[in-house]
C-alpha cells in the first residue's frame, strides 16, 4: 500500500463529505432544529434545577453552556451511524471496499468525521447564540476557546468508537441493538445529559475512566467554565485508542470475510 | 351483454413546475371507448403514454379534469368504495398480501374487508386454488415465494370477492418468461371460466398476442388505435426485424416485402413484411447473398409498431 500523502487520501474524502452535508439544506435544518429544541428543553430543566443554588458546583449559566456543548458534540454525528455501518457490512458493501488498496476504516472514519465537523460548525454557531441569549456570557472565555478543539477531538473519538462497535456486524449481522445501548452509555456515562459530577461518587469515578467521557463531558466541562487543559490530553489518548480499536476490529472482520465469505 | 366500462372524452391535466414555470401536462386527452362484459382488453402504449393515468381514473383513484366515465354503472371517482367491492385491481409491484403471513391468512383479512362470509370464503379459496394452480402455495409465507408464485397469490387475492372486472396495471413486470406465460394463461382461463372482464395495461406486445381479444393503443394521451387483435395481427405483428452482422460490405438488397432500415459496411438492418415474404425465405437469401457473421430476428419494438399504427392511421 502506497504511503504517499496519507493526509490527502483521507483529507479529500473528509472534505467531500463535509461539502455534501452543507449542500443538504433540508437535512441540516433538521439537525439544527433538533439541536435547538433539545438544548432549550434540557438546559431549561437544569437552569430550573440550579435556580436556588448551584448543582454539583455548576451555576445555571454554567449548566446552559455545558448542555449546549455536550449536545453539540453528540448531535454533530449522524444518528444511527452504527446501524448504517452495520447495514453496509451486512449488505456486503464493505466487503467490496476491502478489495480496494486503501484502509477502509480510515477512509470511512475520515468521511464521517468530515461530515460531523461540518455539522458541528453549524451547531457551535447556533449553540453559542442560544446560550448567550438564554443565559448570558460563558463563565470563562478562555475555557470556551479550549472547548472548540476539544469538540473536534470528541467527535473524532466518537466516530472511531462507533466504527469499532459497528464492526460486530461482521459477526452477528445486526448492529441495531448495539446502537441503542451505545447511545445510552453516552447519555449518562458520557456526560451528555448531565455533568458527571452529578452522578453518585462511585459512578462518577467509574465514568471518568471510561472512553465515553471524552465524547461529550470533556468539551462541555471546559465550556462550562472549568479551565482544565489536561482534558484535551485525555481525549487525545482515547482517540488513539479508539482508532486502534476500530482498525483492529475491521481487520478481524476482513479476516473473517476471507474465511467465511461475504 | 351490456357495456361495463364507458369512457367519454376523458381528459387529465397535471400541473408541473412552480411559479411562472407552471404549466399543465396533458396526460390523457379526450380518451373515449366502451368495453363489453366478458371482453379481454389490452391497453397498450409506451411509458408516459397515459395508461396508468387512465386506469387510475377508471378505478376511482384519480378524478379527470374533464370527461365522463361509467364503470358498472358507477362514476368511479365519486363512488369509489361501492365500485371497489365489484372490481379487482392488480397494480404491478403493489401487494395486498402481508409479507410474513401465508396467503390464506391475508385472504381472511380481505374476506372481512369485502364482507364475504366464511363459507363463501372457503369455497372461493378452493376454486381459485384450482383455477390458478396455486393450492400448494396458499399455506406458505409470502416471503418464501418466488415472484411468479407471489403474483399468482396476488391474483387470487384480488379475485376473492368475485369481481366483475379485473383491472391490471403492468402485472407481468419483473416476471421471467415462463412466469409471464403462465400468468397470461391464468387470465385467459379466468375469463373463460367466470366471464370476468379483463382490462390490462402493458407495454409488452406479447400481452396483446396471448391475452387480449381487443387492443387499444394510446400514445401521448390519445387513443390512436382501437381494434381487435386479429385485425392488428394482420396489420402489423407481421413485421419482423432482421439484423445481420457482415464480414464485408454487401451489395444493395432489393427484395419484395423487405425494407432496408440501415446499411453500413458491417451491419445490415432490414424490416420484413411476413405477409409478403416469409422469414425463412429472407434468411435463405441473406445467407446466400451476404457474408454473414451474425444474424438475429426480433420483433419490432413497440415504439415502432405504434409509429406504424400512427402513420397507417393518417
Amino acid at each position: 500500500m502506497s504511503r504517499a500523502r496519507p493526509a490527502r487520501r483521507l483529507g479529500v474524502p473528509a472534505a467531500l463529505s463535509a461539502q455534501r452535508l452543507l449542500a443538504d439544506r433540508g437535512g441540516l435544518a433538521f439537525s439544527v432544529l433538533f439541536y435547538v429544541v433539545v438544548v432549550s428543553a434540557l438546559s431549561g430543566l437544569w437552569r430550573a434545577a440550579a435556580g436556588r443554588a448551584p448543582v454539583a458546583g455548576y451555576s445555571a449559566v454554567a449548566l446552559t453552556w455545558y448542555i449546549a456543548t455536550s449536545e453539540a458534540a453528540i448531535c454533530a454525528i449522524q444518528i444511527r451511524l452504527i446501524e448504517e455501518i452495520g447495514d453496509d457490512i451486512a449488505a456486503g458493501t464493505v466487503a467490496v471496499e476491502l478489495l480496494r488498496p486503501l484502509s477502509v476504516v480510515a477512509v470511512r472514519i475520515a468521511m464521517q468525521t468530515g461530515r460531523a465537523l461540518a455539522r458541528l460548525a453549524c451547531l457551535i454557531g447556533c449553540g453559542a447564540v442560544l446560550a448567550l441569549l438564554v443565559a448570558g456570557s460563558p463563565p470563562s472565555g478562555g475555557a470556551v476557546l479550549l472547548a472548540v478543539p476539544s469538540l473536534v477531538l470528541a467527535v473524532a473519538a466518537n466516530v472511531s468508537l462507533q466504527h469499532a462497535v459497528a464492526a460486530m456486524a461482521f459477526w452477528i449481522r445486526d448492529a441495531r441493538s448495539a446502537w441503542f445501548i451505545y447511545q445510552k452509555f453516552i447519555f449518562i456515562l458520557g456526560g451528555m445529559l448531565l455533568p458527571l459530577e452529578v452522578l453518585p461518587s462511585a459512578l462518577h469515578t467509574a465514568a471518568l475512566r471510561l472512553p465515553f467521557m471524552a465524547m461529550a463531558y470533556a468539551p462541555a466541562r471546559l465550556a462550562s467554565g472549568h479551565f482544565e487543559p489536561g482534558l484535551l490530553l485525555v481525549q487525545a489518548v482515547w482517540l488513539v485508542v479508539m482508532l486502534a480499536a476500530a482498525t483492529a476490529a475491521f481487520a478481524a472482520g476482513q479476516r473473517r470475510l476471507q474465511v467465511v465469505g461475504g | 351483454m351490456g357495456m361495463v366500462i364507458e369512457a367519454e372524452g376523458l381528459t387529465k391535466h397535471f400541473p408541473i413546475g412552480r411559479g411562472k414555470h407552471r404549466r399543465a401536462v396533458e396526460a390523457v386527452a379526450g380518451v373515449s371507448f366502451a368495453v363489453e362484459a366478458g371482453e379481454r382488453l389490452a391497453f397498450i402504449g409506451p411509458n408516459g403514454a397515459g395508461k396508468s393515468t387512465s386506469i387510475k381514473i377508471l378505478t376511482g383513484i384519480l378524478h379527470p379534469t374533464a370527461g365522463d366515465a361509467s364503470v358498472l354503472g358507477f362514476v368511479p371517482w365519486q363512488q369509489r368504495r361501492q365500485l371497489a367491492s365489484r372490481i379487482g385491481t392488480l397494480f404491478g409491484q403493489r401487494s395486498q398480501l402481508w409479507f410474513e403471513l401465508t396467503p390464506r391468512q391475508s385472504f381472511r383479512m380481505l374476506a372481512a374487508i369485502y364482507d364475504i362470509d366464511r363459507a363463501t370464503e372457503r369455497r372461493r379459496i378452493d376454486e381459485l386454488g384450482a383455477l390458478l394452480g396455486a393450492d400448494d402455495l396458499f399455506d406458505v409465507p409470502v416471503r418464501s415465494l418466488s415472484l411468479g408464485q407471489r403474483m399468482r397469490c396476488e391474483l387470487a387475492a384480488c379475485l376473492l370477492h368475485e369481481p366483475e372486472i379485473l383491472f391490471l396495471d403492468e402485472p407481468t413486470i419483473g416476471l421471467d418468461l415462463l412466469a409471464k406465460q403462465r400468468f397470461r394463461e391464468m387470465l385467459v382461463d379466468l375469463n373463460a371460466a367466470a366471464g370476468t372482464t379483463i382490462f390490462l395495461t402493458s407495454h409488452d406486445v406479447a400481452d396483446i398476442e396471448h391475452v387480449a381479444h381487443r387492443v387499444i393503443v394510446i400514445n401521448h394521451g390519445s387513443v390512436i388505435y382501437d381494434d381487435s387483435v386479429a385485425a392488428m395481427r394482420q396489420h402489423l405483428l407481421a413485421t419482423k426485424l432482421v439484423e445481420v452482422g457482415l464480414e464485408h460490405p454487401t451489395a444493395d438488397l432489393a427484395l419484395d416485402g423487405v425494407t432496408v432500415l440501415e446499411q453500413t459496411p458491417t451491419l445490415l438492418r432490414v424490416s420484413v413484411d411476413t405477409t409478403r415474404r416469409s422469414i425463412r425465405g429472407v434468411l435463405d437469401h441473406l445467407l446466400d447473398a451476404c457474408a454473414v457473421s451474425d444474424i438475429s430476428v426480433v420483433d419490432p419494438p413497440l415504439e415502432q409498431v405504434i409509429a406504424e399504427i400512427y402513420t397507417a392511421a393518417q
Partner: protein
Amino acid sequence: MTQLAATLRSSMADAFARRASFWSQVGTMVANDAAWIAFWVIFFHRVGAVRGWDQHRILLLFAVLTTSAGFVLGVLSNTKRIPQLVNDGALDEVLALPVSPLPHLLVRRIDSINLGDVLFGIVLFAVAGHPNPERTLVFVVACIASAVLLTGFLVATGSLVFFTGSGQLGDMSLHTMLLLANYPAEVFTGYTRALLYTAVPAAFVAGVPARLVDHFTVAKGAALLTAAVVMAVLGWTVFSLGLRRYTSGSAWSRG
C-alpha cells in the same frame, strides 16, 4: 369481524411472525426506557423538586409517554410513515379497497419494537405510580386521550406531504413532539411554554396527564380531552383535504 379489526389482527400476526426479532426488539426498547429512568432518578436524587415536579411525578409522566407513544408508534405505526406511503404510491393499494383510507392505513402495519414501550409504561405505572382504582382509571383514560392527540398531530403534519411533496416537516414534527413531551412544560417560560399547549401540544401528551393522575381536576381533564378532540379533527381534516388533492393528481407523476 369488522374491516378494521380484521386488518389489525393480520398486522399483529405479521409482526409476531418475526418472533426472534420481536422479543429482542422489545427488550432493546425496555433497556432504552430504563436508561431514561436512570437519568431522572439521578437528577431528582441530586436536585430534589423542580417547579412542582419531583421524581414520582416524572415517573408518572414517563409512564404515560411510553404507553401512549408506544401504542401510537407501535400499533398505529403508519402514523409516522404517511409521507413515505404517499410518495411510494402505497396509498393506491388502500384506495383500491372498499374501505375508508385513513383508518385502514393506520392499522395496516404494526412495529413490534414500540410495543416494548407500552409494556414498560404499564409496568412503570404499576410499580411506581401508586395505582389505586381511581388513579388507574385516570391513567387509562389519559393515555387514550394522549394517544388520540398524538395520532391526530402526526397525521396532520404527515399529511402536509400532499401539499409540499416532502416528508421532512412530518419527520421534524414527530421528533420534536416526542422530545418535548419528555419534559414538563413548567421547565419552559413565556411564549415557549404557551407553544407547548397549542401549536406543538407536547404538554398534553404526557405532562398534563401525569398531573391529572396525581391530582385530578375537572378543568385539566376537560382541557386534555378538548385538545385530543381538536387534534383528531385537525388530523382527519388535513388528511382528507390532502387526499382530495392527491386524487385530483396535483401531487403526481405521469403514468
